[in-house]
Symmetry: C2
Subunit: 461 residues, 2 copies
Amino acid sequence: MAEQKIEDPEREDEDYALDAALVGEILEAVEEGDAARLESLTEPLHAADIADLLEQIGPNERRDLLQIWPRGIDGEVLSEIDESIREEVIEYLPREILTEAVRELESDDVVDLIQDLEEPQQEIILEALEEGDRAAVEQSLTYPEYSAGRLMQREVVTAPEHWTVGEAIDSLRTADWLPEQFYHVVLVDPRQHPVGHATLGKILASRRDMALKDILEDSFRTFHVLQEEGDVAYAFNQYHLISAPVVDDDDRLVGVITIDDAMNVLDEEHEEDVLRLAGVGEESSISDGVRETVRQRTPWLLINLLTANLSAFVISQFSGTIQSLVALAALMPIVASMGGNAGTQSLAVAVRALATRNLTRSNAGRVVRREAMVGAINGFLFAVIMGAVGWGVYGLPLLGLVIAIAMVVNLIVAALAGTLIPLALDWFDLDPALASGTFVTTMTDVVGFFAFLGLATVILL
Amino acid sequence: MAEQKIEDPEREDEDYALDAALVGEILEAVEEGDAARLESLTEPLHAADIADLLEQIGPNERRDLLQIWPRGIDGEVLSEIDESIREEVIEYLPREILTEAVRELESDDVVDLIQDLEEPQQEIILEALEEGDRAAVEQSLTYPEYSAGRLMQREVVTAPEHWTVGEAIDSLRTADWLPEQFYHVVLVDPRQHPVGHATLGKILASRRDMALKDILEDSFRTFHVLQEEGDVAYAFNQYHLISAPVVDDDDRLVGVITIDDAMNVLDEEHEEDVLRLAGVGEESSISDGVRETVRQRTPWLLINLLTANLSAFVISQFSGTIQSLVALAALMPIVASMGGNAGTQSLAVAVRALATRNLTRSNAGRVVRREAMVGAINGFLFAVIMGAVGWGVYGLPLLGLVIAIAMVVNLIVAALAGTLIPLALDWFDLDPALASGTFVTTMTDVVGFFAFLGLATVILL
């Protein structure tokens, strides 16, 4: 207790980042090739933290660490390692250590580990498994990627629907094997259809002669084995589920999904949204090397280059106008930039609302109208400000008018583009976050430059 | 079963969005003032879906629905209602229905409901509670916002450390009251210090004479009552926790946090990131009215206007240069836009890596170097392309050179700004997502225009 108390003042600031001093010591030990010191330094770390450590250090340090101390990678660490360095780590591990690590894992963790690996590495890991486990993993891999079937674990704690609490407890006490974590006993009928489930809490708190079917949860839901994992994760969050059975086409029980898997999916989907909105490949990671990073980002920059050239083309059509009033060149990026910003705002709100199922067919019309209204109001507001600047600073009231009108036009277009583009992508079953940032700013740039310079040509010249 | 089978073909596409036809019927019933039809239409809906419905319909429809059918709002629905419309809904509810709804809730749900309300509404709800519950809620409200103390529920299932499985089961069977959901029995010493916990699964599967302390979980962790909820949520995700005790300064047990609360926090933090990166107040929602939306977005647009004027000022310094070669006006937004895009890419990766504790003091140097390297490589790549365009399209090799150099400079600056700005914000304990998008694009705009036009002045004139 005393020791814990000393730490107390710091506890409320605990943010679970790896301690920089510890990482420094670990890297020192790697440099010295001191396996014993590595073992003792990493001993207090959780497997997830060891995996993070591997992700955060440089590629050479990673290679050295794995060569000096391969036994540090047990099954749990292996299953926590980020996709981006998984192949690399597996490559460096001696075959017998890999085999041992893989055999420690439950079938759903092996599936998760194996599914993004290249064929030869998949083979190595499948061969490391025992016969029965291998069959289970291969069966899971037949379900499509990102499906409930890939996410579920196959081991489910079930009871016949007519059982009592006492019968369930007795059967659990004599079971050969139970999952690491389970939260419900699923009641099944003779044809293996799940008919409901009881929480372990209710079972523990009920008399032995209570029928299980009298203590079932109202919130019971099942998932189809082919449902998208993103929809499953949404349902877990929306309906506060802890675990839920997975069924096949005939409604027969084939597995169970637990909340920690759902939380993981939710986290990955969010990562995807943030990265896709910014035009970065969704698989980029802090541990990627320079070459990998360039490979991920260049295509998006190339798209941006093409769209930027479109804007340049629009501007070049008005070079006569700019020539006669060079102040236009300084002011035109303001209109474009305000449009880009307003469009990005609408976009983020729409993408998020689509992800939370709060923007639907029923209210899309109202939301689009609201956004257009907000765009118009902000447009007028900033039109007044910038109109005054145009007039005041440049002494040209008509220049003020041009900026003002262009601002209103562009902010309305921005609001519409920021909402309609993700809605359209969603309509076609594409990820609304995908590349929509580029589409929206292209739209606002082109419209902004065209409206501003076009109006200037008509009104000022 | 038959009924379920008919639905099967659609099940894998189930995405849990409210059905548009159903929403249409509900709005029809609202228009007709038909409370009975409203009751039967919403009967199959989960409380979370009814709350979503209220959020998604328009403000007038919301008012009408609540007036026609206030009994639809029970405690569960109330606790699911989004912050953005909570005050509005509470205002429309008759006092007796509000009282009934609030009394159904557990103390942590009341705290969650009440904490963002204005004083008078808080009073109304506190008065609706029974004496004991009111004291518990008031106690929780003494903890700071976003702390573990606000997140936890105060009701914990505990057992003395010397108990056996049988004693624990007997005590659960005779308990007057147990929490809706619980996953562990927490062992406490005589001074109420939590010393470990056992999963209900292990308890159920063990013999009655097994000592609880022999089946404790390795993964046991406690949280301090003042820890930030974001750090708690991170730890739940990182260490696969299901529930964890909360302790005070003396390490005494004061409550428990469960994974569904953590999942909720994680979801809110992600929402904040997406919205803040896009320069939208993090509390914006699809149900906000036009006025509220304008109020949230305008300050950010105003900041953008100021920074855009900074760029305009930079450009205006070079009006002589533009006058003598108007092609510069068309090409300059390309350099700025590429910088903005590349900076946003670096920014998204850095913000996300900070959120997942993968960008830390130990590897910040390496990540900054990598980003700078990627910026330089992409800079050279696009320098070659745009240099060729400048030369080819405009027939001016020196113009190509100017674009090329400006591109390299701006993409390196973009990479550095996109990484260093969020790192700096984090260093000062600010949210790295906050406004960093605006900082980064201001930087790349100003540098882009300055480098391009400055070089043009030196090299071309």
